[in-house]
Symmetry: C2
Subunit: 435 residues, 2 copies
């Protein structure tokens, strides 16, 4: 049986998962691939930590270049994470004619075009299924299964940490900071949670999906990004009363003229499939002109699920190596001639429904004053809740609007927030209903 | 740009969907494939019906063999359905060296091994993503994305008609026969609904998925099959009270020793993702040792969704043609040496929870008598509801059991059903909780 040699850079969580699968289930892979995936090298600066995987000590090295320069290595797996080092090793490996498998969404969102272009010139593959949605085969589904579709919308819960926090806030009514601490204690959130809770990680992933779906160059800067740290238990309570759930949603739409691309806390109808995606699970809801809509759901992170996606890519690349079919599917799913820049709309162009929570003085005339300003900006109110009169000081005045323009909303709120009777910056959460 | 010629056999609903996609979105496909998929022939005995697709009259023929014998045709798409004619054309086309794309699950469940073996000998591809789950890319996900996994369970809502009927029965409390008539009027159910409502169509699909998941030969007879026609509004009412939803579930498990394969009405916990798959939608929940669990959800039938899957397969086959990589992935996902017969358990070996509805006389001692018989067979009761005393004649006595053996359950019910106080055959519905 033919052997395909794999060199791993980065023996962390996902690297250990990949190693575990290759060592524990070789017959599963051989039965399907008709070849052996041999783990020839593992490079990591820390070789002392016990990873819980019984690997032959002889394959361990602290020198990544030893792996990259080994002429017998067919595929280099980059699971180091981060930008500079990972990028340098990937480009070196490509230069040496190695195929690449990576889970590094941050790197691909920042330097994907450079990496894919280098790989294409050198005639090697780059697999990155593990970079978005962990174990869910969603990149392959967009590039292959749904290839007949003009994709018109992507709606993704792409960050497990943020989804875990919002789920707990919704179920338990606890404040963000408290749930974040719990999540950190449980290992669901990192010590510095910025990438997860401020939407940056989800935006990295959306950047990649955008490019696959619409054939546009990778452009992280074009994705509008907001996080979930300003959501409060009061908001959660009202959101439920209005019949919604709150999710950190990665949203992209193509109306034929231009593309929307944004990540922000979003209210979605409680009776949709996406509203039921809870805890650390991820899901991507895809709208296409032929298929209508499909949703892919599963674990968006973790050692074994992400390891599953990495090994799926290894098999995919190995099949191309064995059939001399490298480049069979372009990295981003489109032929070079099919990749075209498209206009990405600014957030000011958005038209959608809104949830507002004003912190207003508890006295007559407040609603009339605020509603007047909204009306002037052509924002029409669909539903209002006003907190009971037993509170002291500022009370929440919450409302749901009909579809309005973001630019008008921003202009209106900058007026209302200057009113004497409004005591704090108004909370705005966008609403999405893709049905 | 290279051209791949496609010949279509069967210009029905799905055929029209496929034609529509190829004619309306050629640039979408070309941008991704780097070649043109040209619809060279459409064969159908009925060329008079307007299919709502503007095709050049010159490509229409009533003679399928004209398509099969055209040396310029690269891929033959079989969308005739049924067994004999479809099989004959497919085998003829393979013999002529054509690649095959089909949506015909009944044919594959019955004669798949013969067709795949003929294709393998001749060195041509067989694409059948459209045969299970309509537009949902689930076959590709099992064969490729989840290839690293030892699959331990499949739980599928694979028949849209049955799911539509059960959804309406649950939402509206209407009887089966009435909802079936509505479904027929709306075009969701066929004039002869047997395949859909008796679980046969779902069993065809499960037969195919089994083979992909576990590397076993195709064996439709091994799948235990029951339908939904005996479910009544009373059952639906109690099922909801017990915290479940009812689905026609296709279930398969591999415990390492043997395989379970069954299709029947099933109670599943109401707070699971599958319980929220309603109307004519399909979903497949897959458990794998590495990935944990993923679920794929979408439209399981229909002109455009199924057309999307057919065109996805066309692109896949075309990519292999263009790269001389035919046979890159084996038809059923496993190398010939990896395909092994496994023992499939009989339904009597099943161990699960049960819902029973006894039609019993309304007098003291009934529950004690029935519970005594169940106890003798080591079936322990988890929960009981007894209908109020205001009814006349036989009243429903419903219960949920802890895990019990099917053989014991069958033995116990054949005893209870002979009691004078039991007035009708007891309704049994199996419970499944895969979490």
């Amino acid at each position: 049986m033919k052997t395909i040699n794999v060199g791993l850079l980065g023996f962390g969580t996902v690297g250990s998962g990949m190693a575990k699968i290759l060592l524990q289930s070789p017959e599963v892979i051989e039965s399907r691939l008709g070849a052996t995936l041999a783990l020839k090298w593992i490079a990591d600066l820390d070789l002392d930590t016990d990873r819980g995987v019984a690997v032959d000590k002889g394959i361990l090295t602290t020198d990544a270049e030893e792996v990259i320069n080994d002429p017998e290595v067919d595929i280099v797996v980059e699971l180091i994470g981060g930008y500079e080092t990972a990028k340098r090793f990937i480009l070196q490996a490509i230069e040496k004619g190695k195929h690449i498998v990576t889970a590094n969404k941050a790197l691909l969102a920042a330097h994907g075009d450079e990496i894919f272009s280098a790989a294409s010139k050198k005639g090697v593959e780059v697999g990155f299924e593990a970079s978005v949605g962990g174990g869910i085969p969603l990149i392959r589904s967009i590039k292959e299964g749904l290839v007949a579709n003009r994709i018109s919308g992507l709606f993704g819960i792409l960050n497990g940490t943020a989804n875990y926090i919002l789920t707990k806030m919704t179920d338990e009514g606890s404040p963000f900071s408290e749930v974040l601490k719990e999540a950190q204690a449980l290992g669901y959130a990192e010590a510095d949670p910025t990438f997860d809770v401020e939407g940056i990680d989800a935006a990295h992933k959306l950047t990649i999906l955008l490019s696959l779906a619409y054939g546009v160059p990778i452009d992280f800067e074009a994705v509008y990004t907001e996080g979930i740290s300003r959501i409060t238990p009061i908001d959660i309570k009202f959101i439920k009363e209005f019949g919604y759930r709150i999710k950190l949603l990665a949203i992209s739409k193509d109306d034929g003229e231009a593309i929307e691309a944004r990540v922000h806390a979003t209210l979605i109808p409680e009776d949709t499939m996406l509203a039921n995606v809870n805890e650390a699970y991820n899901a991507l809801y895809i709208k296409g002109d032929a298929v209508g809509s499909v949703m892919l759901y599963g674990p968006g992170a973790g050692m074994m699920p992400t390891g599953s996606a990495v090994v799926g890519d290894l098999v995919d690349v190995a099949r191309n190596i064995m059939n001399n079919a490298v480049g069979r599917v372009p990295s981003l799913g489109h032929q070079p001639a099919g990749v075209k820049s498209r206009r990405i709309k600014s957030i000011e162009e958005l038209k959608t429904g809104y949830y507002f929570r004003f912190s207003a003085e508890d006295r007559p005339g407040v609603l009339s004053k605020i509603a007047g300003i909204l009306g002037k900006h052509k924002i029409s109110i669909k539903s209002v809740h006003q907190q009971g009169r037993d509170s002291v000081g500022a009370v929440p005045l919450v409302m749901i609007t009909h579809e309005a323009k973001e630019a008008a909303v921003q202009a209106a709120l900058s007026e209302t927030d200057q009113l004497d009777m409004v005591k704090d910056k108004t909370v705005l959460i966008r609403i999405e209903d893709w049905r």
